[in-house]
């Protein structure tokens, strides 16, 4: 599965089956759609990011060069949204990673009922984030389950989503709940390919389980761990639905993420050029982080046994 990770770049598709042929009948329909709704919008977004563009005032559209970028980098709102997103990413990623690792280890040890446990743990990851957010909105509500239980214990109720200090952590907790199963399944699949004889030999020699985990299992899981970190980073940077449904970016913009900021600029203020510049800054940032992560964590991954 190592070669199948999209972050590895295009896997060479070469083989004896290749023929020189006319592939265009098969490729053309998708090729046209990809060009129209993939490549063209990407190029258009880049052009837009250099324009002042309000769709309601086409007469005022003009080239502004790097002004949108300069304006974003000088804007407190941009940095605030970036900071909120960074807190979200840095707060959820390690927790999700550790929990998913533990859950995968437990699933890997289960003999009977593994299928049930795997399904139960993985299912939430396939749900619409809107549904997840609505369910947690009901749990976090002033009159909701969590406050009901606190009251039953004689404790004062907590304003999970209305308190500036608690809203973002509440969303982060929900997000961890919703994504642990996803990453646990990825890690479980890699665990299934562990070298059986090596583990058996280690056990017969009486090597402690934790040492086996560290010396044999962890190196083996390295490629999938890198994949999970990259994927989780990409996804976390795009967080939007959760604050949109739970808090509308509030209270006091404490949950206003980068994509929410982009959405707000583009579709409430109609600053489409500026919003496109934010999108490219997001793209640039995610790209740089992915490269940095590959450099840092990818070291040694090449030497690890391929999953």
């Amino acid at each position: 599965m190592d070669g199948a990770t999209p972050v590895d770049g295009p896997t060479p598709l070469e083989g004896a089956a290749m023929t020189r042929g006319k592939p265009f009948l098969g490729l053309a329909p998708y090729g046209l759609l990809f060009a129209a709704f993939g490549l063209f919008p990407l190029a258009y977004a880049l052009v837009l990011s250099f324009l002042s563009y309000n769709p309601l005032r086409p007469d005022l559209v003009r080239w502004v060069g790097l002004d949108n970028y300069v304006r974003a980098l000088a804007s407190p709102s941009f940095w605030h949204a970036l900071g909120t997103t960074a807190i979200f990413v840095l707060g959820t990623l390690p927790v999700t990673l550790v929990l998913a690792y533990g859950v995968a280890a437990l699933l890997g040890r289960a003999r009977r009922g593994e299928g049930f446990f795997r399904a139960a743990i993985f299912f939430p990851a396939t749900l619409s984030m809107v549904v997840v957010s609505l369910v947690f909105k009901s749990l976090y509500a002033e009159e909701g389950l969590l406050n009901g239980w606190l009251a039953a214990l004689g404790l004062p109720s907590v304003h999970w989503l209305l308190d500036v200090r608690l809203a973002l952590p509440s969303i982060m907790a929900m997000d961890v709940w919703a994504s642990v199963g996803y990453y646990a399944i990825l890690m479980l699949a890699a665990r299934k390919t562990l070298p059986e004889e090596q583990l058996e030999a280690a056990r017969l020699e009486g090597i402690p389980a934790l040492l086996v985990e560290r010396k044999i299992v962890l190196p083996h899981l390295r490629p999938v761990l890198l994949f999970v970190v990259l994927l989780n980073t990409i996804r976390a940077f795009q967080i939007f639905i959760e604050p949109f449904v739970l808090t509308r970016g509030g209270p006091l913009e404490s949950t206003l993420t980068l994509v929410y900021h982009l959405y707000d600029r583009a579709f409430y203020h109609f600053e489409m050029g500026y919003a496109s510049a934010i999108a490219f800054l997001l793209l640039l940032l995610v790209g740089l982080i992915l490269i940095a992560q590959r450099r840092l964590l990818g070291r040694g991954a090449a030497g690890a046994p391929a999953a």
């Binding site: 199948a4 990770t5 999209p6 972050v7 295009p10 896997t11 598709l13 089956a17 290749m18 023929t19 042929g21 006319k22 592939p23 265009f24 009948l25 098969g26 490729l27 329909p29 998708y30 090729g31 759609l33 709704f37 993939g38 258009y44 977004a45 890997g108 040890r109 003999r111 399904a119 139960a120 743990i121 939430p124 396939t126 619409s128 984030m129 809107v130 549904v131 369910v135 947690f136 009901s138 509500a141 909701g144 389950l145 009901g148 699949a189 562990l194 059986e196 058996e200 389980a209 994927l231 996804r235 940077f237 795009q238 639905i241 994509v259 959405y263 583009a266 919003a275 999108a279 793209l283």
Partner: protein, 273 residues
Amino acid sequence: MSARKAGTGTYAALTAIAILSLAPLLYMARVSLGKGGDLPIAPADWFGRPLSLEHYRDLFSGGPMARFTLNSIIVTGIAVPIQILLAAAAGHALARARFVGRGVFLALATAFLILPRQVTLVPLYLLLATFGLLDTYAALILPHLADPFGILFMAHYYQTMSPELEQAARTDGWSPGAIFWRIVLPLSGPGLAVVGVNGFLITWNAFLHPLVLTTSESMRTLPVGLALFAQSEHRVDWGALLAGSTIATAPVLIAFAFFQRQIVEGVLKGSGR
């Protein structure tokens, strides 16, 4: 697999995690099957109160929920079969033929796999607006058809499939079309199941694009309709909201029950971002 004995501790922990994982969803279903707008707090409320379809009846009598559901079904029902056909046709072409620009195409498609989708949100909005397609089913469907996951997945799939049968048919004078429809497609079931079920999940659950590309209530899909419904209410009707959420979840549960293995395979190959 490790042959370590799984002790009681392992099963106790797994059971606790499974409960934690499913409890919020069972709670959602329980609230949706209750009466009135308040949330049941105590376990006695969950099990003691009578079950009722009141919220579902209210949702579908006059409210826009029936329309949201219909829209989601239409969009998914059109987009997913087209995605499957595109993936088979383009994937097969990429796997079998060598041509100029093939490497570039593969590189671009792979780059799009990890590209944050928000980058193309604004231009897609302007593009569809230019052609008067905002707030139409076309706006809800077309962007999904450009997703490169299925094409790349099927290209790999065909790469591992022996071309002998196709070559024999070509020697016998079959046309490329006949070879594709009568030989390639019938052998593509397992791969197309992965493409189809993952395409279904992504299309059914899509939110940001449908939110932006539709403006009238009658064009909202389920996730968008539910999210805006939750925002618009001053006093939230939890029963109705969670009944709508349950409706949005039911098809996902059914897909999961039948295609869990294919969903996992899609995840492993990078279908989600």
